[in-house]
């Protein structure tokens, strides 16, 4: 078996690399390596963080050794996450980028819990980018919580222990007699309380204890974790203060557009640069040569596409000039890909011998020979775009002395530094990145292509430059979620699933490997759960750029697999919940590093069964519904999260679909911020429905056909279902929730469409099968 695995055994290559670094000791290294060296005597100014020019205090500057200076106050900063000022202000540093997934609130909450800080007095700041101080800093794979939970708890607990020790000294009582409460150390016996701020100076003078030695709270004593907390940046959001990448302004900054070829991979032959340079507000216009291969997804790549830069005195001058730009493109190396031809090719491949066998366990042929029934179906899903509402942008200043500053709404800031340093041929220490909020990420901002473009243009013009993509650029130059096809065949014997075969047809950019995010694990559910399972693979060569899109792989695989499993249940004459639980019951215990676990344990059948039962119960599974209305179920495990969803859907005679409500049951261990977690789940379900309903990226002659939101109809409020969220209160380690609630949404809705109408959806988006909202 497994004679020719797809090469990548997890869905994406970028996360395993980060996780490898993490498991090599960085997971808790941010604390242990620093040995909690005290940082005291902070001063403002100097190194500048983000948008608040000159106003933010910078944790890194002391460590960089160039922030020293006279200090009027002694601050207690036992580690890079906590700073307590004598006035009682507590500053907590959020290490990872926030692109809407809420970690800027959730990560500091973990510190605050163990610190026993009064949350309303906590100020959260975005941490500087430093592998040495913080270990890996990125927003991807729903990993912020699982990778940082223990470190952050210890960061808070160490600070608390030192404050208690300082109070014990001051009060002349044993530390054991002291407790903490909302920013105070309390000596109940003598009814005395001392605020953390008053203890800051004394605590700063104490030795920092070994983080492994401090006592952590019992979960039952948590006061903050698990509660609903509003996002720390919400005030800025509702008052329109600068915070996003696009909001960045730097003195002397110029505004640029970068125009690439409509056909993916084409190069500039010539352009009407003289005319463009004569246009109002235009400061410069020039060609940029192709470097490396920017079509290949790689966060730390310094590749840049061939194109035309227009640099102007305002965004509008640049955009207006771009309209008058005329370019001759050399398309000799360009993509000629066609989605409609790919669909035809996939159907042909499905009828042919597979190119490789990823799995062949048990005796599949014998199982089919003795089956009561076989079920066959062909599933199709399209390419889709990330469509972050904030179009890609980045501000870079390549200075004459060989240093560079980056202001970027990136999901991978450390990779962005690496990319720009490589591009400029300077050491990474020459490059400073200011992390800005991203107006949506969904995986798009894992790539730093716009960062390298901004560096290329800034270097050429010798000034700070903001590169602003138009919405049209954003649709035309994405790393798309790849489309794919599954030719399924299943054997039913005695009402049970006896054999499972999936001939997966995907895309390759060469080298015998599927394109990024276009692979299927040989262990993907239910392959290990069925006694006889075969996974086959054929690939279609393609030059279209692909990359991780929220719940990579899972976001599409779950639709095909969970709908086909429902087909099997129907063919077996079985109730779907009962059938799914039966498959779960024959699933072996979790694998280390199984599919969907991102380097962590794989699907746990008990947790899976728990959420399936819970979703069914909450939705009133089995209840009688009027004609044209039905319930549909789906389950998927990804990113360490077990999620089951039930959708209630009606379909009218014109195939108009209404999703009335979706019940979600999730098991991600203890919840950090309940409000944020529920928001992520609700958004994931709406994203899943939106994408399944009407979104697709098609291409002909290598050109993407969708140009703006008028051709890419994201769901609007009128069509959004109610989403009821239930979390299992489990004792497993807490894991992330930016992604795993998305994959089951589409199959739950499609299975409900079958229940409501008898129509089996096998092609997405639903509009392709004549459905509408």
């Amino acid at each position: 078996m497994n004679d020719n695995r797809s090469g990548a055994t997890t869905v994406d290559v970028y996360l395993p690399e980060y996780l490898r670094r993490a498991s090599a000791g960085l997971r808790d290294a941010a604390l242990s390596r620093r040995r909690f060296i005290k940082i005291s005597g902070f001063v403002g100014g100097g190194l500048v963080l983000g948008l608040s020019l000159g106003t933010e205090r910078v944790a890194a500057q002391q460590h960089n050794g160039h922030g020293a200076g006279p200090s009027r106050e002694v601050e207690f900063a036992p580690n890079p996450y906590v700073q307590i000022k004598p006035d009682g202000t507590i500053v907590l540093f959020a290490k990872n980028p926030d692109v809407g997934q809420g970690v800027k609130t959730a990560l500091p909450m973990i510190v605050a819990e163990e610190l026993d800080a009064e949350w309303s007095r906590v100020r959260v700041e975005q941490a500087p980018i430093s592998m040495e101080l913080y270990g890996p800093q990125f927003a991807g794979g729903s990993t912020s919580i699982p990778m940082n939970y223990n470190t952050l708890r210890r960061a808070g607990a160490v600070a608390r222990a030192m404050l208690v020790a300082a109070a014990a000294e001051r009060l002349g009582v044993p530390a054991e007699e002291l407790t903490t409460d909302a920013g105070f150390v309390v000596h109940a016996a003598s009814n005395r309380r001392i605020g953390y701020g008053e203890l800051a100076e004394a605590a700063a003078a104490l030795p920092v204890p070994d983080p492994a030695s401090v006592k952590l709270k019992d979960r039952k004593d948590f006061k903050l974790l698990g509660k609903r907390v509003t996002g720390v940046d919400n005030f800025k959001v509702v008052t329109g203060q600068p915070m996003f990448g696009i909001d960045q302004r730097v003195p002397g900054m110029l505004y640029a557009t970068f125009t690439k070829a409509p056909a993916i991979g084409a190069r500039v032959s010539s352009a009407n640069l003289d005319h463009v340079k004569s246009l109002p507000g235009v400061k410069a216009a020039f060609l940029i040569e192709k470097k490396g291969n920017a079509i290949e997804f790689n966060p730390s790549s310094d590749a840049v596409s061939s194109g035309v830069a227009i640099v102007a005195d305002s965004t509008w001058s640049a955009f207006k000039a771009k309209r008058e730009l005329r370019v001759e493109w050399d398309e000799s190396d360009a993509s000629r890909d066609s989605w409609s031809e790919a669909v035809a090719e996939a159907r042909r491949l499905a009828q042919s011998a597979p190119q490789s066998t990823l799995r062949d366990s048990g005796d599949v042929d014998a199982a089919f020979a003795s089956a009561d029934r076989t079920v066959e179906a062909f599933y199709t899903y399209p390419y889709v775009a990330h469509a972050d509402l904030e179009p890609q942008n980045c501000t870079v200043w390549c200075k004459p002395d060989g240093t560079a500053e980056i202001w970027a709404p990136t999901q991978t800031p450390q990779a962005a530094v690496e990319a720009v340093a490589k591009f400029l041929g300077v050491p990474q220490s020459n490059v400073t990145l200011h992390q800005l909020r991203g107006g949506g990420g969904f995986g798009r901002r894992l790539a730093n292509d716009s960062v390298v473009e901004a560096a290329a243009i800034s270097k050429r013009v010798g000034a700070p430059v903001k590169v602003q993509w138009t919405r049209e650029d954003d649709f035309a130059f994405d790393y798309y979620r790849p489309g794919g096809f599954h030719a399924f065949k299943a054997a039913i014997a005695n009402g049970k699933l006896a054999a499972w075969q999936d001939h997966f047809i995907t895309f390759t950019r060469g080298g015998g490997m599927p394109a990024t995010s276009a692979n299927l694990s040989p262990d993907e559910f239910p392959a290990r759960s069925v006694p006889n399972a075969r996974i086959l693979q054929s690939m279609i060569p393609s030059k279209m750029p692909t990359g991780p899109w929220r719940a990579p792989g899972s976001n599409a695989i779950a639709f095909a697999i969970q709908c086909f499993l429902h087909e099997c249940a129907v063919a077996a004459g079985r109730d779907h919940v009962e059938f799914l639980l039966e498959v779960m019951a024959t699933t072996p215990p979790p694998q280390q590093a199984g599919p969907g676990g991102f380097g962590m344990p794989g699907l746990n059948p008990e947790r899976a069964a728990g959420v399936i039962r819970l979703a069914a119960e909450k939705a009133g599974w089995g209840r009688k519904l009027p004609e044209g209305r039905g319930l549909g179920l789906a389950f998927h495990f990804s990113h360490q999260g077990h999620f089951a969803e039930v959708a209630e859907v009606s379909v009218d005679a014109d195939r108009r679909v209404t999703v009335h409500k979706v019940w979600v049951a999730g098991d991600i261990g203890p919840i950090v911020n309940l409000s944020g977690a529920e928001n992520q789940v609700q958004g994931s379900v709406i994203d899943g429905f939106s994408t399944a309903m009407g979104l697709e990226i098609t291409f002909e002659k290598g050109r993407v056909q969708q140009r703006n939101f008028d051709g890419y109809p994201l769901l609007r409020m009128t069509q959004a279902p109610e989403v009821e969220v239930h979390f299992v209160d489990s004792d497993y380690p807490p894991t992330g929730v930016g992604e795993p609630a998305l994959p089951p949404a589409a199959p739950a809705i499609c299975n409900a469409i079958y229940a409501a109408s008898g129509h089996r959806v096998r092609t997405l988006p639903l509009t392709r099968e004549g459905f509408k909202v």
Binding site: V99, V237, W316, R471, M717
Partner: protein, 159 residues
């Protein structure tokens, strides 16, 4: 030309008169709370008020706005910094995920409540369906508008 934004008059000098209001706000005046999403009037992230009416600022050449009263997200709170009930409800209900579309959403919600102090779900959907939220915060937006309507009713404050 002159432009009146949030009660303050700005002299724009020799600006290109075809410049959309959006880019005048963002690049010329530094009021970056109003967001660029699509440039074709499809997403409404750029919504501001002109004489109290919500409009898509990416579609409005600045030359058409001389003498008009423009309000942006930055001008919504009171002079003493008191948040508008809609802003407060957005915080209380923790509406935002990425937050990028929310300034536009809030501007439309405020205009709705000025017209219709006690909106039904249908009123809300009619007023808000021109907005896109990529994160899918629609249910919280709907709820926050109801909450804001309740706050305004209780305090009798001018929305």
């Amino acid at each position: 030309m002159r432009l009146k934004v949030n009660g303050r008059t700005h002299e724009l000098g020799d600006i290109d008169p075809t410049t959309p209001l959006l880019w005048v706000l963002r690049d010329t005046l530094g009021l970056v709370g109003t967001k660029y999403g699509c440039g074709i009037g499809a997403c409404s992230a750029c919504t501001v008020h002109v004489n109290g009416t919500p409009v898509q600022s990416c579609q409005l050449p600045v030359q058409s706005l001389e003498g008009q009263e423009i309000t942006t997200i930055e001008g919504l709170a009171g002079p003493d910094g008191t948040l508008h009930p809609v802003q407060q409800a957005w915080i209380d209900e923790d509406v935002a995920q990425c937050g990028y579309c929310q300034a536009g959403q809030i501007m439309s919600a405020v205009a709705l409540l000025n017209r219709t102090p006690k909106p039904t779900d249908g009123d809300i959907e009619n007023a808000m369906s021109r907005h896109l939220c990529r994160c899918g915060t629609y249910n919280r937006i709907r709820k926050a508008i109801h909450v804001a309507a309740g706050m305004i009713e209780r305090t009798g404050s001018e929305a």
